[in-house]
């Protein structure tokens, strides 16, 4: 039997090994269809809308994305599978919608925080930041002690990076145990509240801009530029996700010695986490009962017999209990240490219409919109999505 897999071209060698291991163990063939990584989610949603579905789907785990696939109709409920208990609280945030878990997130989880250049910090007598107030202190100190260094490198030319510092990190500690999203969903809090964590974080971000804490080409620079500037000591900090940044930094063999990683939020060092697309799998309802059963068997294999080898190959911190965690080295070790200091799933993973933040963060970076107005517009999109989800 041949099962069709829609996958992101960003798949790692560890994932490819996992596919091969499944084929060997099951005797089934996997027809791997790579969809373009640029607008991957949009491509999948478009295909679903037109009725085209694979047997196995590699897709984002956030509620904003999966709710758009109409999961009750299109996805097999995996809530009763064995891996659910071993996945712990992640089973209620990754691929989770209306009380059902539709996905497994094999890991590694994506970790969002601040990458910093250790030498730049040491030269200026600075400690790594833990809060947004610390970021302001680092910025003002560097501007006086190292004016040639950009305190924070922002890559607005890429589209998505600015939302990390503008609208994600500050809010992380407010969403421990999902408290912030819960208050938004039950209507006791609004994204547009003047003292909402979103608006306060955006206000700090706007202050970074007006205080010239960003690189001069912040609105056009690309992600690759931020890694180069950080390694070269031309920038002190970059707010990024390890899955995107670590491979870029690893181009420099001395990266682990030069670069550190910390979690930063409003009040303390909390790393924001979200399941990666890589390693997150769904089993769509295709109408072919035999293939649907085979797809569930695939999920059982990758979370069971195949999982330890995958974790070893990926050198990842496991998301499922019952396997040995490989020893982390290099930048991965720095990320693992930061995660131990404190982590929480980002509120954006469970917030309907959260993707509205990306374009609005770019407007804050360009000085075109106030933080309060971003809150108002986010709220309009959020309420419209919430209303439709309730139908």
């Amino acid at each position: 039997m041949t099962l069709t897999v829609w996958r992101s071209p960003l798949d790692t060698p560890a994932i490819n090994n996992l596919y091969k291991a499944y084929e060997k163990a099951s005797g089934n063939k996997l027809n791997l269809v790579s969809l373009p990584s640029d607008a991957y989610e949009v491509t999948v949603k478009t295909k679903f809308v037109t009725g085209s579905k694979p047997d196995i789907l590699n897709f984002a785990a956030g509620v904003d994305q999966i709710s758009q696939l109409n999961p009750a109709k299109n996805l097999i409920d995996l809530s009763d599978l064995d891996f659910i208990k071993r996945e712990g609280s992640l089973a209620k945030s990754a691929g989770y919608f209306n009380g059902h878990t539709y996905a497994v997130a094999l890991g590694p989880v994506a970790s969002y925080g601040i990458f910093y250049n250790k030498q730049v910090f040491a030269n200026a007598g600075l400690e790594p930041p833990k809060t947004f107030d610390d970021l302001k202190t680092v910025c003002s100190t560097l501007k006086s002690k190292a004016p040639a260094v950009a305190p924070i490198f922002e890559a607005g030319g890429e589209g998505w990076p600015p939302q990390i510092l503008a609208g994600m990190l500050y809010v992380t500690d407010a969403n421990k145990d999902g408290a912030y999203v819960a208050s938004l969903m039950d209507g006791s809090a609004k994204l547009s509240d003047a003292n909402s964590p979103l608006v306060k974080g955006l206000a700090d971000y706007a202050e970074f801009r007006t205080s010239h804490c960003f690189n001069s080409d912040a609105t056009t620079a690309k992600l690759g530029d931020s890694a180069k500037a950080l390694l070269a000591g031309k920038a002190a900090m970059v707010a990024q996700v390890d899955s995107a940044m670590t491979p870029l930094l690893a181009d420099d063999p001395a990266a682990a010695r030069k670069i550190g990683f910390v979690g930063v939020s409003a009040s303390g060092p909390v790393v924001a986490t979200t399941p990666n697309i890589t390693g997150t799998y769904y089993a769509p309802k295709t109408g072919d009962a035999i293939k649907e059963r085979a797809a569930v068997d695939f999920i059982n294999f990758i979370t069971g017999k195949g999982y330890q080898q995958y974790i070893n190959d990926a050198n990842a911190v496991p998301t499922l209990s019952g396997v040995d965690a490989p020893k982390q080295v290099g930048l991965n070790a720095a990320v693992a240490t930061a995660l131990q200091s404190g982590s929480a799933p980002t509120y954006l993973t469970n917030l309907p219409a959260s993707t509205a933040l990306g374009p609005l963060a770019l407007q804050v970076l360009a000085g075109q919109i106030s933080p309060q107005d971003v809150g108002v517009k986010m709220n309009v999109s959020f309420e419209a999505a919430k209303q439709k989800l309730a139908k």
Binding site: A39, E41, V42, K45, F48, V49, S67, Q68, L69, N70, K73, G156, G157, G159, S216, D217, A218, T219, T220, P352, A353, T355, A356, P359, L362, Q363, V364, L365, A366, G367, Q368, I369, K377, V380, S381, A384, A385, K388, L389, K391
Partner: protein
């Protein structure tokens, strides 16, 4: 008959469906699609998307049309007479037309980077290190993306103007010359009125085409910085990505309406000014 079928299948039916969806609450969050009146237009107006996108689109189209036609008419005047040299330059200026708009956008976004070749060239001419972010400032980004679009299509407009200039009867030019008309007078009083059909083609194709601009902008700025170059089609793409298909259809209907509302009066206006020989 086959052509009529093609028009119905590929234009009329999609247009009718799109017009219908513009007034529906179709999102990717639910399978249910219901008529919701003007709610989509209200929502994209409340979000500040509609008015801003129309403004950016119209400014973008105007800049493209002005730059493209001024440059093309100048080039056509210089390259009117057939010779090996003019054939070479006509081919050279036509090359951008053959390049994919995405490729053109990526090439120019690299050229215009703060440390890119354009600023390096300027640094040679002006003292100090010139590192202006052309695509990082709202005004210069809009002008630059429009100029890239104009550059992309100027070769085609040039050929149309060359054909127009060559269709002006030589006896009329010779008679005017004998009557003492100078070069500028001959150009303004004789060539320009006879070039109206070429103007009509270039203005309408240029303006209407750029109202639907998308690819060059996505490859250079993706609508940024912020939303400075977010034309209607880029806003449409963003709404589609958010799963608000009704909003995206509403923006698409605005593009169609804008194209029809512009093209019909523009063609009628230009046709009235055409001169019969």
């Amino acid at each position: 008959m086959p052509s009529l079928a093609l028009i119905v299948v590929f234009f009329i039916i999609p247009f009718v469906f799109n017009a219908g969806f513009a007034f529906s609450d179709w999102t990717s969050f639910s399978d249910a699609i219901a008529f919701n009146g003007l709610d989509n237009f209200r929502l994209i107006t409340d979000l500040g998307i509609l008015g801003h996108a129309i403004e950016v689109t119209v400014i973008y189209a105007l800049v493209v049309v002005v730059v493209q036609n001024v440059v093309s008419l100048g080039l056509a005047t210089l390259l009117q007479t057939p010779s090996r040299r003019t054939t070479f330059f006509r081919t050279l200026f036509f090359l951008p037309v053959l390049i994919s708009p995405l490729a053109a956008g990526y090439i120019w976004s690299a050229m215009l980077r703060p440390n890119g070749p354009v600023n390096s060239a300027i640094s040679v001419l002006v003292p100090g290190h010139f590192d202006y972010a052309w695509l990082g400032n709202a005004t210069s980004a809009l002008i630059c993306t429009a100029a890239i679009e104009a550059w992309k299509w100027s070769g085609l407009a040039t050929l149309v103007y060359v054909a127009g200039l060559n269709s002006v009867p030589r006896p009329i030019i010779e008679a005017a010359t004998m009557d003492g008309a100078a070069g500028w007078t001959r150009f303004w009083r004789i060539k320009v009125p006879l070039l109206i059909p070429a103007f009509t083609f270039n203005l309408v194709i240029g303006f209407v085409g750029t109202l639907s601009a998308f690819d060059v902008i996505m490859a250079t700025t993706s609508g940024g910085p912020g939303n400075a170059t977010t034309v209607l089609n880029v806003a449409l793409f963003q709404q589609y990505g958010l799963g608000f298909f009704g909003n995206a259809s509403a923006l698409s209907l605005v593009v169609t309406t804008l194209v029809v509302a512009t093209a019909v009066p523009l063609v009628a206006f230009m046709r009235r000014r055409e001169v019969a020989l």
